[in-house]
């Protein structure tokens, strides 16, 4: 079970959270002007890196707040977590 650092509540067990996929994938403001390829990229394509990845989690069974956190997809190690719309910490890599 992952131990996830909520920036509001501190480290808590994985069962209190829901996963929200890759962070910093903004909803396009001009969706009507996007090509099918560009729109499909937003809807379906994520980077899925091997190694450090910034991703979104929501502390559903806690403060109910969304946040971003660095996680290493190889060994599940967590790096720093940070609140949405704040400066992203550097990748721990």
């Amino acid at each position: 079970m992952l131990h996830i650092p909520c920036p509001y509540c501190g480290p808590r067990d994985e069962t209190e959270f829901h996963y929200g996929s890759e962070a910093h994938v903004a909803y396009p403001e001009n969706s009507a002007n996007l090509t099918d390829e560009e729109w499909a990229k937003f809807v379906f394509i994520r980077s899925n890196p091997k190694g450090w990845m910034a991703e979104r989690w929501v502390h559903s069974a806690g403060c109910r707040r969304w946040f971003n956190v660095w996680r290493n997809t190889i060994n599940h190690e967590f790096g720093p977590s940070y609140k949405p719309f704040t400066q992203q910490p550097k990748s721990p890599a």
Partner: protein, 891 residues
């Protein structure tokens, strides 16, 4: 030592308190414990602890437990055990024992209280860290306990320190990410044979440690020779330990070894009074202190040879071992009623592999070891390759065998898997341990290959001329040993296993005898049968009552989200496909929600209570998901919007009165309210006292009939329901449940998200293009509607289906083929499937909803539904069966 009495296979025995059942049986001269699972071969005990592959028993006393290893049971007075031939019998009585859970955070978790584990505990305790020491045996000390040696006092006393918690009889079952582990502590089985309710029988520990030290020790392994499974053939360390403790049914022994451990065990056997006829060592030039000690004890040593086969006595126990060259030649028998086998040590790598740490092969020790140290996990003791310095092992797993010999040379005892089975896997091209395992079932029994795993890897290597580490590495999975489900459940049994949600009116439903339907965690009345009525009759009666008179339904389970803030209208415009910001105060509107992929994922009616105050309803099952969805957009995309969402599902009770006579009933319940259609129109909300309680009444209909939904604070729910029942008595007010609700909505072609949808339907697919706003610049899902795949022809679309035989109710989920294919032999391409199907009182026949490829353009086409026993024919229709013109909703 006090004596205790126990029963095994119906016979009374006595043994010493604290010893294992296996030990006590050996003490009583029992060698033949059970017969093997598939081949009925007599089997005895092989091992000392949880590596035991043979000697399984069912426990019938106390809480009772199937399939436990007799080597791990501490005997107590009144213990009743029964030999188990591989498959256990679940007790048919309820287990009333208590089970519990504990959560602990700790600086350091040490797994294993042998010398290495105790040393690690001392080190971290000295540093002031909090330490938990978990050990699965009754006493700390590891191999020193088996050897009958004293554990150094400075190590043992560590367990009494303030910052150290010692958990004996506790097994770490799983090690997971970030230092999380789960351990089970056996607390009562060793005390007596009673059922304990005053304290937990098993306590499950959930431990989060900053650092975990694995000092899990090692098991001895066997060798694969012919007839290597007879009672009396044991692992040498196990045999020497039992015998040294006085559990000695043996007169003479032969030790068959690949390492110096065999010599140490031969000396112990000899010291305990067993005549060791020979040590048979595969190595040509054994050396070391242990070898010298055996020579000094006068034990004959035969080098360069190994066991090829064994002979049995009349009772099936072993009589002698034939010893020859590793190629099987020059074999000759040596007598021994104990054949003690030392096939090398297999460190317990399980926990390390659970977290992805790969064992490495140590050729000198002939063992997979884990030398690992990082901030989360480190290893110590035999697991880390510290075997004590006097161990050179030959990498050898068994001699060359003839075909006949291979048939009775066992690799995995519990699975009765032989060298022949193994060889068939190799001959079929299997090379990976994972493939061989699945081809032969080796390593899939209760012991999960604790002894057979490394043996199998070694045999693959021997067969194809590679070292075991070139074959790969064993991967284990939790749990480490079998656990009763009850231990994992803890107190979460019965009602506590999953919360039940009930409405304030629930007690009335139960008292009326309504069967309940589970909708998520909600209990909802399914139908309200009158005496002697079955479900079909009850539902037809309830449906007719609603369409012709008045019915009442408890709609309190609908998800309700209170939405406030000056930007709520703008926000709802993005969330729903249709427009909400223009909705007038006091009005309700039905809305569909889609994901960014354009697929429908929830629906419901949202009401504008005041300028900046809205109440959203969701599906009963989707409430939590929708609230999460709203929060996700508000927090991560549009934080500038001033919108606040709160779940009020439990705070509001909703009673729906439905049917042409509901207006009359509504006027009786709220005499001050003008219920005329002119004053109180469809989708309007009014505030009025209902039965003396302030209520919000909404003209919303999920059946197509005139209907009023009475919303009150939850505490008044039952009061309103009872008022409806008494005021409506002369109108033949009819309570109805979820089944009637489903039939009524399906007759009107109203979809249920999750029944007509599976996450791949757009609003257009559901024939609901009317609800997709053309005016809005954007809303979630809009852009996806013009994607090539969502805009293409041939998508599955919502239609009605009428079977030609109106008395036949098509099963939901049934596949539909084109009418022309009614009699085509399979395989036939299907064109869709049934999503909802009922018998209808209003139609006087059956009907169904379905998703059919290009269905909206195919109305009137014949279809067929091939069932197991017949082909049902029918026709595609519109999805609205009752009141297409919406005339009934105004009464």
């Amino acid at each position: 030592m006090s004596t205790v009495n126990f029963t095994f296979d119906g016979k009374q025995y006595s043994g010493q308190k604290g010893e294992s059942l296996a030990s006590a049986l050996l003490r009583n001269g029992v060698l033949h414990f059970t017969d093997s699972s598939y081949k009925d071969r007599p089997r005895g005990v092989m091992g000392l602890w949880v590596e035991e592959p043979n000697a399984l028993v069912n426990i019938d006393s106390g809480a009772g437990e199937p399939m436990v290893m007799s080597t791990t049971i501490e005997i107590v007075d009144g213990l009743v055990a029964r030999s188990s031939q591989g498959v256990g019998d679940l007790p048919d009585t309820r287990d009333n024992s208590r089970y519990d859970k504990v959560n602990r955070h700790v600086d350091v978790l040490v797994v294993g209280a042998g010398t290495a584990g105790l040393e690690a505990a001392k080190k971290y305790s000295d540093q002031g860290k909090s330490v938990i020491v978990v050990d699965d045996k009754p006493a700390a000390g590891g191999h020193l306990v088996y050897l009958g040696q004293a554990v150094p006092a400075d190590l043992l006393s560590v367990l009494d320190r303030e910052n150290v918690t010692y958990l004996p009889r506790t097994t770490v079952q799983g090690l997971y990410d970030q230092g999380y582990s789960v351990a089970t502590e056996r607390r009562t089985d060793h005390l007596d044979s009673k059922v304990h309710t005053e304290m937990s029988r098993i306590r499950t520990w959930h431990i989060r440690a900053d650092h975990t030290v694995l000092a899990t020790g090692a098991f001895q392994r066997h060798l694969v020779f012919a007839n290597n499974d007879r009672p009396g053939i044991m692992l040498s360390h196990s045999a020497a330990t039992y015998v040294s403790n006085g559990a000695n049914p043996f007169k003479s022994a032969v030790v068959v070894t690949v390492d110096n451990q065999g010599y140490r065990d031969a000396v112990r056997l000899s010291q305990a009074g067993v005549t060791v006829n020979a040590i048979v060592d595969i190595r040509n030039n054994p050396s070391g202190p242990s070898v010298e000690a055996a020579k000094a004890a006068g034990i004959e040593i035969i080098t360069g040879k190994t066991a090829i086969d064994t002979c049995e006595k009349e009772d099936g126990t072993v009589k002698c071992v034939s010893v020859g060259n590793p190629d099987g030649s020059d074999a000759a028998c040596i007598d021994g009623d104990l054949i003690a086998v030392s096939g090398g040590w297999t460190p317990v790598v399980h926990l390390a592999t659970f977290v992805g740490i790969k064992p490495t092969w140590d050729a000198k020790l002939a063992a997979f070891v884990v030398k690992h140290s990082d901030s989360l996990t480190s290893t110590a003791g035999m697991l880390a390759g510290d075997f004590g310095g006097d161990d050179n092992a030959e990498i050898f797993f068994g001699p060359t065998l003839t075909t006949e010999q291979a048939l009775v040379a066992f690799v995995d005892y519990q699975r009765d898997a032989t060298y022949r089975d193994f060889k068939r896997a190799i001959d079929a091209g299997m090379r990976s341990i994972e493939h061989v395992k699945r081809y032969t079932a080796i390593g899939t029994a209760h012991d999960q290959g604790k002894t057979s795993g490394t043996v199998t890897m070694g045999l693959i290597g021997q067969a194809i001329g590679k070292a075991p580490d070139e074959i790969g590495s064993l991967t284990f999975r939790p749990p480490y040993i079998t656990i009763p489900f009850a231990a994992l459940a803890g107190r979460d049994r019965g009602l506590l296993s999953d919360p039940e949600r009930t409405t304030p009116i629930h007690a009335w439903h139960v008292a009326s005898g309504a069967p309940m339907e589970d909708v998520g965690q909600w209990k909802r009345p399914w139908y309200f049968p009158k005496s002697g009525e079955n479900m079909h009759a009850a539902v037809l009666r309830e449906c007719a009552a609603v369409r012709e008179g008045v019915g009442v339904m408890d709609a309190s389970t609908l998800g309700k989200i209170d939405i406030q803030g000056k930007d709520a209208g703008q926000f709802l415009d993005m969330i729903y496909t249709n427009m909400f910001s223009t909705l007038k105060v006091g009005m309700s509107r039905y809305g569909l929600m889609c994901g960014v992929d354009g697929m429908v994922f929830d629906d419901g009616v949202t009401t504008r209570i005041s300028e900046n105050h809205w109440l959203m309803t969701t599906t009963t099952g989707g409430a939590a998901k929708v609230l999460d969805w709203l929060e996700e957009w508000l927090q991560t995309e549009w934080p500038h919007l001033e919108v606040y969402c709160t779940s009020v599902t439990e705070q509001i009770s909703t009673v729906a009165i439905v049917g042409p006579k509901s207006r009359e009933l509504m006027s009786r319940l709220a005499p001050a309210l003008d219920v005329s259609n002119e004053a109180f129109a469809f989708m309007e909300n009014k505030h009025a006292d209902v039965a003396g309680v302030p209520a919000r009444i909404a003209r919303i209909s999920f059946s197509g009939e005139l209907a009023y939904e009475i919303n009150v604070p939850a505490i008044y729910g039952l009061h309103i329901w009872e008022a409806v029942m008494s005021q409506g008595a002369d109108l033949n007010i009819t309570p109805y449940g979820t089944e009637t609700m489903h039939v009524l909505r399906a007759e009107k072609g109203f979809v249920i998200v999750g029944q007509e949808t599976d996450g791949t339907q757009t609003p257009d697919d559901l024939d609901m293009s009317w609800i997709v706003s053309k005016k809005k610049d954007d809303f979630i899902g809009k852009r996806s509607f013009s994607r090539a795949d969502t805009a293409r022809d041939g998508r599955h679309q919502l239609v009605g289906i009428l079977a030609d035989d109106g008395s036949y109710v098509i099963p939901e989920g049934a596949y539909i083929v084109a009418g022309a294919d009614a009699n085509t032999a399979p395989p036939v391409k299907h064109i869709g499937y049934i999503t909802s199907s009922y018998d209808s009182a209003a139609l006087g026949r059956s009907f169904a909803l379905a998703l059919v490829a290009n269905g909206l353009a195919r109305k009137g086409e014949k279809i067929a539904i091939p069932m197991a026993d017949r082909v049902v024919t029918g026709v595609i229709t519109d999805s609205v069966f009752v009141d297409k013109e919406n005339t009934r909703r105004d009464g």
